[in-house]
Each structure stands twice: as C-alpha cells, then as structure tokens.
C-alpha cells in the first residue's frame, strides 16, 4: 500500500512538469495554431534563470586562506560572496540558499520577454506555413537555444539546490515519507495551472482569448486586435514553461539538454489530452506521469520487461486508435 501511494505521489510530481509544459504548448497551439518544438527549450531556459541568479548572488571576491595552498602550491584563495559582505553572513547565506524561489521573480519577466521576441521575431512569419515548416523552424530554434546555453554554462549538470528549510523529507502518512521539494513542486504546479485557468475564465482578456481560440476571424471582425493578445499568450506560455523549469532545478540538476528530454513526452501528453484542449493537457499530464511511475516499478518491469520505456507511447497509440481527437479534444481540431 505504501509503495502504491509513493508511486502515485511520484506520478503526480512527474505529471506536474508534463502538465505545465503541455499547458503552454496547448496555449500556443490553441491561440496561434503553431506546433512549437522550441517549448522544451523554454523549460530549460527557465531552469537556467535559477542557475544565473544563483551565480549572480554568489558573485564573490577572494581572500587568502592562511596556511593552505591550492593544487599548484600557491596560497589557497577562498571565495567570499559579496552578499555576505553587504548583509552579514547569516542573511547573505540565506539569500543564496533561497536563490531558486527568488529566481521566480527573475524568470517571469525574462520568459515573457523571450516569448515575445520569439513570437514577433520568428514564429509570426510561419503562421501561414504548413505545420511541417513550423516544426522544422521551432526544432531548429530549440537546438540553437540549447547550444547557446551549453556554450555559456557547459554540458555538465549544475546543481540548484532547494532551500535548506524545504529540503529533506516529510511524513505524508505513517511510515511513508516523501521529499518536501517534490510536494512543493506539485503545489506550485497546481497553483500555476489554476492561475492560468482563472485568468482565461474570469478576466475580460481571457474571455477575448477564448473567443479568439474558438473563432479568430469573427473576433477580428469585431474590431479586437486579437494578434496582440495572442502574442501575449505566447509570452504567458513561455513564462509557464520557464516557471516549470526554474522550480524543477532542485529535483534534477539543470543541464542544457533537459528541454529535449521533456519535449517529446510533452507532445505525447498534448496529443493524448487532445490538441488545443487545456484541461485535456493537464489531465493527460498527470495521468501519464502516474502511469509512467507505475510502469517503472520492479513488479512492472519484471512482468513486462521494457514497459517503463514504452508505456507513454503505448497509451498514445491506443488513444489515437480509439479516440483520435484525444481525451478531451474538440471535434474538428487537427482532424481535417
């Protein structure tokens, strides 16, 4: 029973990342009709916002450590972060310790800007082109972005640990412990997803966007500049992917390739959920996360060797065969 609960929790936090990325993908597809293969790269850039802030906060000057030498026999120099000079050791170290949650403040404007530049600078030129062209150009962009990150940060993973207070494990049931940060990640994802839905559901801006998603031409005829709103939605989707990335850093150390690792899975999530369906993307994200978790258990891999590697694709095949529009896809979307 404990093992089942643990795998459900695992599935939920895996599913949180899938759902957040798939939500952004669906927002872009639903509004602009673009299949964005660079979305995984946005997730990765978000994670590197945390790396960048951590490095900025850790900017240091060097002081000599008396009586110790470095590997070349020169006096050993220790790094002393400026923030500890400015705010005292305890406060300075606490600021560095909380760099991942603080990075959220940096990530939102950075990702909105990245999304805006990406959409206005490149993707808008491909609206009327076939999906194959869109896939090619966005996939190329993803590779360029990850190579840029690799050039500046290297190929090795870089740790962005959770704050000390949110590290370790919490007892979720008697005898069942679970990492605190993973619980935080799930709650954070739930908050972001609820926020996006509330924004679309309860604001005028959101109502116009939803109307545009349903019938872009009619909304345009009413004198509303829907393109501007859709550009903002691209930025919002980028910010959601970025936030998913920044908070994911303490779970797995960010590396330049992490976006690609999630990209294909997220597309499967979107297809299973239903192209263009926001609730479908979220539901499929969590569902596939849980399925993947259970498929990785020793029992599953012993009974069906290799099932952990194919489960998601197997489900996608079954869904596409039995319900081509996905779990919650609208009739007519991607069916022509």
């Amino acid at each position: 029973m404990d093992a089942i609960l643990l795998q459900i929790l695992n599935g939920l936090d895996k599913g949180s990342a899938y759902a957040l990325i798939a939500l952004g993908l669906t927002l872009i597809f639903g509004t602009l009709g673009v299949v964005n293969f660079a979305h995984g790269a946005l997730f990765m850039i978000g994670a590197f916002c945390a790396v960048t802030l951590q490095r900025l906060l850790s900017l240091s000057h060097q002081v000599e450590v008396p009586g110790q030498v470095d590997f070349l026999g020169n006096p050993l120099m220790a790094d002393v972060p400026y923030v500890t000079d400015w705010f005292g050791e305890a406060t300075g170290n606490a600021i560095i310790d909380w760099s991942v949650p603080l990075a959220i403040l940096l990530t939102i404007p950075v990702m909105l800007l990245v999304g805006y530049v990406m959409e206005r600078g490149l993707i808008k030129h491909f609206y009327k082109r076939p999906h194959a062209d869109q896939i090619l150009v966005t996939f190329g962009l993803a590779i360029v972005l990850q190579e840029i990150v690799k050039y500046y940060y290297g190929a090795n993973p870089i740790q962005t640990p959770a704050p000390e207070a949110l590290s370790g494990v919490a007892q979720v049931l008697p005898g069942v412990v679970y990492p605190i940060w993973r619980i935080v990640y799930f709650c954070f994802a739930a908050l972001i997803i609820s926020g996006v839905f509330a924004f679309l559901q309860f604001t005028t801006f959101g109502m116009v966007v939803r109307a545009g998603m349903a019938d872009r031409e009619t909304v345009g005829l009413l004198g509303i500049d829907i393109d501007k709103r859709f550009t903002f939605m691209f930025g919002l989707a980028a910010a959601v992917a970025g936030l998913a990335g920044v908070m994911y850093g303490p779970i797995n150390a960010p590396n330049y390739h992490m976006g690609m690792d999630f990209l294909v899975l997220s597309f499967v999530v979107v297809v299973v959920g239903g192209m263009g369906s926001l609730p479908g993307a979220v539901l499929a994200g969590f569902l596939l996360g849980i399925l993947e978790s259970f498929a990785s258990t020793t029992w599953a891999t012993t009974t069906l060797p290799g099932i952990n590697q194919i489960i998601i694709y197997l489900v996608a095949i079954i869904i596409l065969l039995t319900r081509p529009r996905g779990l919650m896809g609208r009739k007519g979307v991607m069916e022509d």
Partner: protein, 462 residues
C-alpha cells in the same frame, strides 16, 4: 610479299621491359604503402576522437586539453610534463621519430555511429596513424573495431566496461583506464571495513554494456564479502528522473544502494536518492549507504553536496603525490588554470605511451607498434601469474604499471575515493581513502567476465 619486323624474341624482350616498367611504380607504391597512413613528410598526424557535443562534452573538452598538452610535450614545447618522470627515455622531445606531431580532432557525440564516422574520416582523409580518446565504452568498442579493420592503432580513452579488453578486445586496441572488475575488487575490502559483511544491496543499473558489466562485477565482489543482492533494476539510458526507481528501494529491505550509473544518469539518480532521504535512513539497524562504483571529477562537480561521504573508485586523482602526477598537474594546471580530470590523465598517458612505443619500434608500422606496446615480457612485482607479462613502465601517475600483452589491458593500483566532506575548493571534491594494490585487482585473461573474445592478429591495413 611483306615481311614482319616483329620477332618472337623481340616481342618477349619488349614485353619484359614494358612489364618491368609498368611494375616499377607499383613496387614503389607498395613500398610507400607498407602500412596504412605511413607518414612520408616531416609531420605525423594523430587523431583525437572525443565527445565535443552531447552530454559528455565537458569531459571531451578536458581530454582534448590533455591531448594538446601531450602533443606540446612530444614536440619539445612546454615543461615536458610526465616525459620527465616517465621510466622510458626513448622520447627526446623532438616529435616522434623526428617528425613533428600534428593532430586532428573528431566529435564522437557519445554515439557509436558518429564516433566511427569521425574516426574513419580522420584515418581516410587526414591520414591519422593512431586514434585515441572517448568517454563511453559503447563508443570505445565501436571505434576499436573500426581501427582494427582499418589497420591503425587505437589507444582507448575513458572506457570502463569489462568488454573493451574482454569479449571485444582487438589486437590493434589498448586500454590504460581501469575496468569494472577492478572497481569491484578494489572497493570490496573497503566496503567491508566501512559497512560490514552483512549487508543487503539494491542495484540501479544503466541499461547498456558498461552498466551490465559493472553491475556484474560489483555484485560478484560484494557477494563474495557476504552481502546479499536484493534486486538489480535496469534503468533506461535516457532516464532523467529516477524517483520511480528510488521509491521501491525504500521498502525493499535493502540497506545499500549501488548506483551503476555514469555522467548525467549518476548525477540525477544520486540527487534523487538523497532527496528521498536514503542517506538519513536506518534499515536493519544500520545506516543506509549509497555506493557509486565509478567516479569522475565532473560527475562529482555535477552532484554537488550529494556526493559527500559516498564511496567509489577512480583510475587516477590529481591529488596523488607521486612525481608523475605532480609533473602532470603542474603542466596542466599552469596551462589551463585548474587540475586535470582522470579522463584527461588517461588520454595524456595513452598518447605518450603510443609515441614511446613508436620510438622504440623505430617505425609507425602498426604491428611493430603493437609489439612494442606488448613489451618484452617483463612482469609486475608481487603478482604471481603466468599472464603477468608485457610492458612494464612507471612515472606516469599510477606507479608501476603493466600493459598486459595477453589482452592489452593496463594493470596498476586502483584508487578508492570518497566524496570530500569539507572541500577547500571547487576542484577538491574527492579524497583518496585507499590505494588498492594491483595484486588485489588482478584477474586472468580467461576470467569468465572477460571470456569470449580474441585479440586476433594485428592489422597493418596495407
């Protein structure tokens, strides 16, 4: 009436002269191609095939730094590094056999097909006489096979699978790096001292050649201590989040987790294991322990704080205090500003060993170089075995070392290392807790974990 001016004798004479004339260039050509890529000018080209893209690009970059340094030292530039401490004095700092050393590089991408393609290009287009480098056993086995077919020497880089000099060994291939069996044999006594002989181990294993051989080796050596193996779970190489593999460990009754992972896999699986509180857990009345049998400096850096106190093994460490290591660290550190990794060390050593073998053989001919690397049948002290024969050398950072002629594997002491609790700098991440003597990591060439292969005949490629 007409008379022919052709006579039988005249035709035969003319034919013989013409035949000799036609054969002459061929004779010269065949002399010029006594072996593949025979250097004819005043330079000789070496091919360094390392991951320049992909997840091991940082390790590849460090290997390239070491190769550059080795070429500098061979050409008489810089401070000479380990040429000054190397027991063989055949190298004079004037290139190899008087030819200046040049090099070309290829990108393995840590993919076997890409690595073979780049090695092939360096051999066929750039005329490389030797290929070296790499950060993966899959790549090493693939490139070694290619070099054997092409008739050039392969001096393997970082490859730890038993198969490289086991079932996939080749006459043209040589490995300086240690292997999975040696890791198991070196770690076992330390594990017994630190954690006792009554332990239950759970293995997570990367699902490819290196992972399998390492798991098999560690399981064999820990079971010989009296440990029980609870489970071995194969994890996909592409896995990033290991939480669903870690969660079952919590209720498995195991009190040790062995992570047969390397690179990004190891960084993620160790991070996940620490997240799940395994290191603070008590099982069977004992502290739960994690073991990472193969360490690298870059992995340790990637794993950060999580590595502290965790045992593993290394081929070499920059903090060793022998003269060879000190000379190499000084050269490398002065040129690049940080200490070298073990991948860099093995690549540097392999280049020097190749150059030394050519110098001693007096030719670049691959089969002569193979014979020189196989040595004169000398033996390592302290190892009583009929297969203890080959090339013995010293002064390259690992103490007395044997390049065993039977399988082209180097035998030397193995380091057991531990993640440092209080590192003094970003490079000071691992500490050596034990230097396991070579006789404890020795095995015979026909050991079951290495069986099934055959060196075959060396190939000159002509």
């Amino acid at each position: 009436m007409s008379t022919s001016r052709f006579t039988r004798r005249g035709v035969l004479k003319t034919g013989a002269v013409a035949g000799a004339g036609l054969a002459l260039p061929t004779m010269f050509t065949s002399r010029a191609n006594a072996y593949v890529n025979e250097p004819t000018g005043d330079t000789v080209t070496l091919g360094f095939n390392v991951p320049q893209s992909g997840p091991y690009a940082d390790e590849g970059a460090d290997e390239l730094r070491a190769f550059e340094l080795a070429v500098e030292h061979l050409n008489g530039e810089g401070d000479g590094g380990m040429l000054n401490t190397f027991s063989s004095k055949a190298l004079k700092g004037n290139g190899i056999l008087g030819k200046k050393v040049a090099y070309v590089t290829g990108d393995t991408q840590t993919k076997s097909d890409a690595a073979r393609a780049s090695a092939k290009s360096m051999i066929e287009k750039d005329g490389a006489v030797m290929i070296s480098g790499g950060s993966s056993s899959g790549v090493a086995v693939a490139v070694q096979g290619l070099c054997q077919e092409a008739g050039v020497i392969f001096m393997a880089g970082l490859t730890h699978s038993n198969d490289t000099t086991g079932k996939d060994k080749k006459a043209n291939g040589f490995r300086h790096f240690f292997d999975a069996y040696m890791s198991g044999a070196a770690l076992a006594p330390v594990l017994k001292n630190e954690y006792g002989s009554d332990r239950r181990a759970y293995h997570l294993t990367a699902d490819y050649t290196w992972g399998w051989t390492q798991q098999e080796s560690i399981q064999a050596s820990t079971e010989a201590l009296g440990w029980e193996t609870v489970e071995n779970v194969l994890t996909p190489l592409a896995a990033t989040d290991f939480s669903s593999y870690i969660a079952p460990v919590l209720n498995s009754g195991a009190d040790v987790l062995v992570l047969n992972h390397y690179g990004g896999n190891m960084v993620n699986s160790l991070t996940n294991a620490v997240q799940f509180g395994l290191r603070d857990k008590q099982v069977n009345g004992k502290n739960f322990e994690i073991v990472v049998p193969l360490y690298s400096e870059l992995m340790a850096k990637g794993a950060g704080e999580n590595i502290k106190g965790i045992l593993g093994s290394c081929n070499w460490q920059w903090s060793l205090q022998d003269e060879g290591t000190k000379a190499f660290v000084k050269s490398f550190g002065t040129k690049y500003g940080f200490p070298p990794s073990q991948a860099a060390h093995t690549c540097y050593v392999q280049t020097i060993l190749y150059a030394d073998a050519v110098e001693r053989a007096g030719t670049f001919e691959p089969c002569a170089v193979v014979a020189a690397l196989e040595g004169d049948g000398s033996s390592l002290e302290g190892v009583d075995s009929a297969s203890n024969a080959g090339l013995v050398f010293d002064g390259l950072g690992n103490g007395p070392t044997l390049y065993r002629s039977a399988d082209h594997q180097c035998f030397k002491d193995v380091l057991v290392t531990k993640g440092k609790e209080n590192p003094t700098s970003e490079f000071d991440l691992l500490e050596v807790v034990e230097v396991t003597p070579v006789d404890q990591v020795w095995y015979e060439p026909d050991h079951p974990m290495f069986a099934g292969g055959d060196l075959g005949q060396c190939n000159n490629g002509a």
